[in-house]
């Protein structure tokens, strides 16, 4: 079985897509060095550096997609989507609607997200639920190398705009870049199964909007994305000892949600714990509760999310990001 690291898998799938489709190009700040393995295979015309001008180059990505390319536009971090938000909110997401369905913008915005390595509150946000509020955007948050590669392929095949978020704690290269900087003296709580794992010999798209049940369980349903999925698996394991079996659902796609799989699981377990590294309020955790209620389900509910701006100090950060202990406690509270 072939295994890969998380970002290696994304770049590998991207390479497969670039080899198959000359319309796929990649640009963003420092991309020639960050994607140097793609640069030396596809040349400088298809792997380009931008100035630190996110509103211009994400906006340009939208139009380039409209005009026939399949650009993958990289942000240094999803936190900096703030300076390119107009291109996402008022352009990428609205082209199809405004044009009465005649025109689309098949752009992939790729960005590292998430915390757990002490970079402070302007550099560790998740924001997937925030982006998912905007009708017209697909939002992907893989939790394993296999999904990461497969979802990148699916994103490139999708005819509309996609935000592809790559959790830094799962990414061997981002974590070295922004975190360790080559040191062996720092420790991060990296979920091993997310950081490295089996991948297919040849990449196939992982269908958008399909959740994956990572663990069966009948007492409570943990639902999450990204690193949260692994925290849920740890929590589920901890609860096993107490005779509680928790199911773990990995949404993989935040928008559009896999409502059927999600509702089926909530119906079956009757207890829902949403684990969301994005901010708690007005986000994914609320949306999931509404979806289950709309399906007429009755269930008990708790959520373990990031409630505030993420603090810098590692010990404060650990308390703020949804961790295993808080998940276990939330589950117990429902039982």
């Amino acid at each position: 079985m072939k295994t890969m690291f998380f970002t290696e898998a994304i770049d590998d799938a991207l390479g497969q897509a670039m080899a198959a489709d000359p319309r796929v190009i990649v640009f963003g700040e420092d991309v020639p060095l960050l994607r140097r393995n793609l640069l030396v295979r596809f040349g400088p015309e298809r792997v380009r550096a931008t100035p630190i001008s996110e509103s211009a180059f994400v906006g340009a990505g939208v139009a380039a997609a409209m005009a026939g390319l399949r650009p993958v536009v990289e942000l240094y971090m999803v936190d900096f989507a703030s300076v390119a938000m107009d291109a996402l909110l008022n352009h990428a997401a609205k082209v199809e609607s405004f044009s009465g369905g005649q025109w689309q913008a098949p752009l992939v915005v790729r960005a590292p997200c998430g915390g757990g390595y002490g970079d402070g509150g302007q550099h560790e946000q998740s924001l997937w639920g925030w982006l998912a509020h905007i009708p017209g955007l697909v939002v992907l948050v893989p939790s394993t190398p296999a999904d990461a590669g497969g979802l990148m392929l699916a994103a490139l095949e999708w005819d509309g705009p996609v935000v592809f978020l790559e959790h830094k704690l799962l990414s061997e290269s981002w974590l070295e870049f922004m975190g360790s900087g080559g040191r062996t003296t720092v420790r991060y709580d990296v979920p091993a199964a997310g950081a490295r794992g089996p991948v297919p010999r040849e990449w196939q798209p992982v269908p958008l909007g399909e959740a994956a049940l990572r663990k069966e369980g009948s007492d409570v349903a943990f639902v999450s994305v990204g690193v949260g999925v692994h925290r849920c698996l740890e929590a589920a394991q901890a609860l096993e000892g107490e005779g509680i079996t928790a199911a773990v659902l990995d949404l993989r796609t935040v928008s559009p949600l896999d409502r059927a799989t999600f509702c089926e699981l909530v119906a079956r377990t009757g207890r829902l714990v949403v684990v969301d590294e994005d901010y708690e309020r007005f986000g994914l955790s609320g949306e999931l509760s509404a979806v289950a209620l709309e399906a007429g389900l009755s269930f008990s509910y708790a959520r373990v999310c990031t409630e505030t701006t993420i603090p810098y100090a590692r010990h404060l950060e650990d308390q703020t990001l949804p961790g295993t202990e808080r998940i276990v406690a939330a589950a117990r509270q429902l039982l």
């Binding site: 000359p22 319309r23 190009i25 015309e45 380009r48 931008t50 100035p51 001008s53 509103s55 211009a56 180059f57 994400v58 906006g59 340009a60 990505g61 939208v62 139009a63 380039a64 997609a65 409209m66 005009a67 026939g68 390319l69 107009d86 291109a87 008022n90 352009h91 609205k94 082209v95 609607s97 405004f98 044009s99 009465g100 369905g101 005649q102 025109w103």
Partner: protein, 342 residues
């Protein structure tokens, strides 16, 4: 090369009559919200669009109608769209600030400055897919203070993108005098971002045509982006129903509505010194007076009147051309309006 003034005038005339029709429909309440016209900037649009070819792309602002018409988008589809018909250009979903034609690679946006990044992206795609194709961005001088446009100029410069950036400078952004809100000099600013520029009188269609032609040739030849600074006036000011224009046109009706609360507030206890209050009042009055004495009221600034002057020596041909355009617009109107009521 010299421009074909007849065909440029025909383009401008068509656009003008079309937008006058739109004005009527708007006055009749058949269009609900804002309506920004391009009346007054037709020479800029015509002078540029005449050089635009199949495969070129257009990034338009909130005054998109003239460019789409001149680019050859079906006027019936545009008019239907403005009226919100489901058979409109965008099935009634886009509307006047969000007109799109995939076929013509033309997209508009109501976000000030957004045409800059859009043109950069269109041009980038052109480099891969359509050799020698260019993209044109249209925007006002107010947009030159919006970061994304400044960024886009720099991006186009360093990527040597085939973009013509066209600044239609009427010196107004809604109610504000742009010269008071713009530091330095726009052309120097653009050059400092790496983009060469040309300055032209935007009410002179022949001059625009020549300047745009030269710039576009350089751009097509792979020499990177260019900036065209073209001055103009907007005959209806910012948009239809603009309050200060109404006040200038019907002072007896509108001025008291403005003045009454203003004076009440001016005399209200609590607030600044009388001197400061007077300065404030002065600002409001001068805005009113500026609109009243507006250069747009001078026919010298109407690009159509100006262009027509060169053609009056052939009155017969001119009359025929104008009648043709009038008939065409009337036919479009009656087609669309009949549908609407049918």
């Amino acid at each position: 090369m010299a421009p074909d003034l007849w065909s440029l005038y025909a383009l401008m005339k068509m656009s003008r009559l079309f937008e006058e029709t739109v004005t009527q429909l708007w006055q009749e309440g058949l269009i609900s919200g804002e309506m920004h016209l391009g009346t007054g900037e037709e020479a800029i649009v015509a002078g540029v669009l005449d050089h635009v070819q199949e495969g070129d792309a257009l990034a338009l602002d909130h005054r998109a109608t003239p460019a789409l018409l001149m680019r050859g988008v079906d006027p019936v589809l545009i008019l239907r769209e403005l009226l919100g018909h489901e058979e409109g250009l965008c099935r009634g979903q886009g509307g006047h600030m969000h007109l799109f034609s995939h076929e013509h690679l033309a997209a508009s946006s109501g976000i000030v400055g957004a045409s800059g990044p859009a043109a950069a992206g269109f041009a980038l795609a052109g480099q891969y897919l359509r050799p020698r194709a260019i993209a044109v961005a249209f925007f006002g001088e107010g947009a030159m203070n919006q970061g994304m446009l400044l960024e886009a100029l720099n991006l186009a410069a360093v990527w040597r993108l085939p973009v013509l950036f066209v600044c239609k400078d009427d010196n107004w952004s809604i109610t504000s005098d742009s010269s008071q809100l713009t530091g330095g000099n726009l052309c120097q600013r653009v050059e400092g971002l790496g983009v060469p520029y040309t300055v032209v009188d935007g009410t002179d269609v022949a001059a625009v045509w020549e300047a745009a032609g030269e710039s576009i040739e350089r751009i097509r030849d792979g020499h990177g982006p260019s900036f065209l600074h073209a001055s103009c006036v907007h005959l209806e000011a910012h948009f239809l129903g603009y309050q200060l224009v109404r006040a200038a046109r019907k002072p007896l009706q509108e001025v008291p509505r403005i003045a009454r609360p203003l004076l009440k507030s001016f005399f209200r206890p609590g607030g600044a010194s009388l001197r400061m209050r007077r300065q404030g009042l002065q600002e409001v009055l001068s805005a009113l007076l500026t609109t009243h004495r507006d250069p747009r009221r001078s026919t010298a600034n109407d690009p159509l009147i100006r262009a027509r002057r060169a053609l009056v020596s052939e009155p017969q041909r001119l009359r025929e051309l104008e009648e043709d355009v009038e008939r065409e617009i009337a036919a479009i109107l009656s087609a669309v309006v009949e549908e609407g009521s049918g």
